[in-house]
Structures are given as C-alpha cells and as structure tokens.
Amino acid sequence: MLDAIQFSSFADFIDMGGYGFNVWSVYGLFAIFVAVNLILPLRKKQRILRQLKRRMTLDEEINSEDSQSS
C-alpha cells in the first residue's frame, strides 16, 4: 500500500501541486500548536518548582530568624 513517494523532486514537494501555501501553513500551525501545548507545561513545571523551592528556603530563613529572636 505504501507505494512510492509522490513527489519527484524536493521542489514540487514544497510546491505541493500548487497548494503549497495552504498545506504548509496548516502543517506549520499544527506544529506550533503541538509544540506550544507540550513545551509550555514543561517550562511552567520548572517555574513552579523554582518558586516552591524559593518559598521553602524563605520560610526556613524566617523560622530560623524567629527562633533566634524569640
């Protein structure tokens, strides 16, 4: 079923039978859509972990400060 690749040269692969713009903008949009919705959550996870770590060190600092002062 997987017969030969449909395009003789790379040029008309880009041209896509005259509809290059439409096909490639669809696939470009799809790529951006997939990338954004995978990378953003990963980056956000790092940001959350950093914030939580900072808050933990801050709390420890305050507790140690209170324990000294009290």
Binding site: M1, L2, D3, A4, I5, Q6, F7, F13, M16, G17, G18, Y19, N22, V23, S25, V26, Y27, L29, F30, F33, V34, V36, N37, L38, P41, L42, K44, K45, I48, L49, L52, K53, R55, M56
Partner: protein, 247 residues
C-alpha cells in the same frame, strides 16, 4: 469500584500514576505522529478532485474530531466536581478548557485554510461545522474568562463546572440549529464539505492514524498541565514539599 473511584480522586495518587504512564504515552504519541505525518505528507496519492489539499484534511479532520470530545470531557469533570466535590476533576477541567480553546481555534484555522482552496473563501457561513465550532470556541473562552474572573478557587470550581455542563448542552443545540438554519438558507453554497471527502482507503487510514496521534497528544498535554495544577494547589501538603526538596 467505589474505593478505586475515591482513590483516583486523590491528586497524589493521580500524580504518581500519571508519572508512570507519561513516558509510554509520549512514546506512543511520537510514533503515531511521525507515522501519520510522514505518510500523509509524502506517500499519500493526490486525490483526483482535491489534489494535494487532501493532506490538509488529514490534520483538519483529526483535530476537529478530537475537539468535539472536549465538551463531553468538561461535562464529565463538571459533574464530578459538583456531585462528588473532587478537586482533581476541577484541576482537569481548568486545563481542559484552555486546551479545548486551542483545539477549536486550530480546527477553525485549518478548516478555513482548506476552505480557501475548495470554496474560494476563507470563511463560509453556510458550512454548519465551522460555524458551530466557532461558537464552541466562544463557549470555551467564556468558561476560561469566568475561571479567571473568580479569584477564590472554590467558587470558581463550582461555577465553571456548572457553566461547562450548561455549555455542553448548548453546543449540541447550537450544532443542530446551525445545521437546520443552513438547510433553510441553502443558498447556492459553492460546495458543501461532505460531498467532497476524498475516497480511497489510504486517506482514511492515514486520517485514523492522525486521529489516534492527536488523541494521544491531547492526553499528554492535559496530563502535563494537570500535574502542574496539582503541584500548585497542593504546594502546602507534605508530599509536594518532599518532591520540591528532592528536585
């Protein structure tokens, strides 16, 4: 079954379970995505009517099919939040709405790109699928803006759950009323989509592969954002503190 159901509710259990499942899902997604894209772009014969634009349809049909699943997902998570008050369901619902808006937007974008070739115009009011998808996008954006309007997360959870349930019913009503409105205004629409779907088994198998890839992508992205939500909302609980100190 009841124990399993209440165990699923605890974010900690979900976090660990999804941690185990995530690598497999990502692997499956990558496999299906590459197979679908490579096959669709390189090997698919041009359709006798549409030529190569049938390649657009693969992605469009896959994303459109998946985005129809969003409101049922919101309906289920909404009822769980309202009836059993499970925080996890609200976390899933919050990220599902955002992802759903993305899906609807991409469906509209790819649909109008396909339409600009086949119908000559980027937007066609007589195509009931596009119009009802447009209003689904508006409903999802409504749920998101309601979520961000209510600061206190407890009321926000209940309110958005209720709105998504109502929204889900409305999407169905909108879909049929738009289709009915369409037949009344059966103006000489250049060509409606269903007479145009290319035939040939390869097209449908490639589309099927893409649909599975997109569903896998949906679950991966939703799991990732829900895990973030769990970390944020359970930041005071002990297991998150150990997680943070370990990381």
């Amino acid at each position: 079954m009841w124990l399993w159901f209440s165990k699923l509710g605890s974010p900690k259990w979900f976090y660990e379970l999804s941690g185990k499942w995530l690598p497999w899902l990502v692997a499956a997604m990558v496999v299906f995505m590459t197979v679908g894209l490579v096959w669709g772009l390189l090997f698919l014969p041009p359709d006798y009517q549409q030529g190569f634009t049938s390649r657009i349809l693969i992605v469009h049909v896959a994303v459109a099919g998946t985005s129809l699943a969003f409101f049922p997902l919101l309906l289920v998570s909404g009822t769980i939040t309202l009836v059993w008050r499970m925080k996890l369901a609200d976390m899933v619902a919050k990220n599902a709405a955002i992802l759903g808006a993305w899906f609807s937007f991409i469906t509209l974008a790819t649909g109008s790109l396909w339409g600009s070739v086949m119908w000559g115009t980027w937007w066609e009011w007589t195509d009931s699928r596009l119009v009802s998808m447009l209003f689904q996008l508006f409903l999802l954006l409504g749920v998101i803006s309601l979520r961000s309007a209510l600061e206190d997360s407890e009321t926000a959870a209940k309110a958005c759950a209720l709105l998504s349930i109502v929204g889900c019913i409305n999407v169905v009503i909108i879909k049929y009323s738009v289709e009915w409105w369409n037949t009344l205004h059966q103006v000489s629409s250049p060509v409606s989509m269903d007479t145009q779907s290319p035939n040939g088994p390869e097209f449908w198998i490639a589309t099927l592969v893409m649909i599975v890839a997109v569903y896998l992508f949906l679950s991966v992205s939703l799991i990732l954002s829900t895990r973030n939500e769990i970390l944020e909302r359970e930041r005071r609980s002990q297991w998150v503190q150990d997680l943070v100190s370990k990381s």
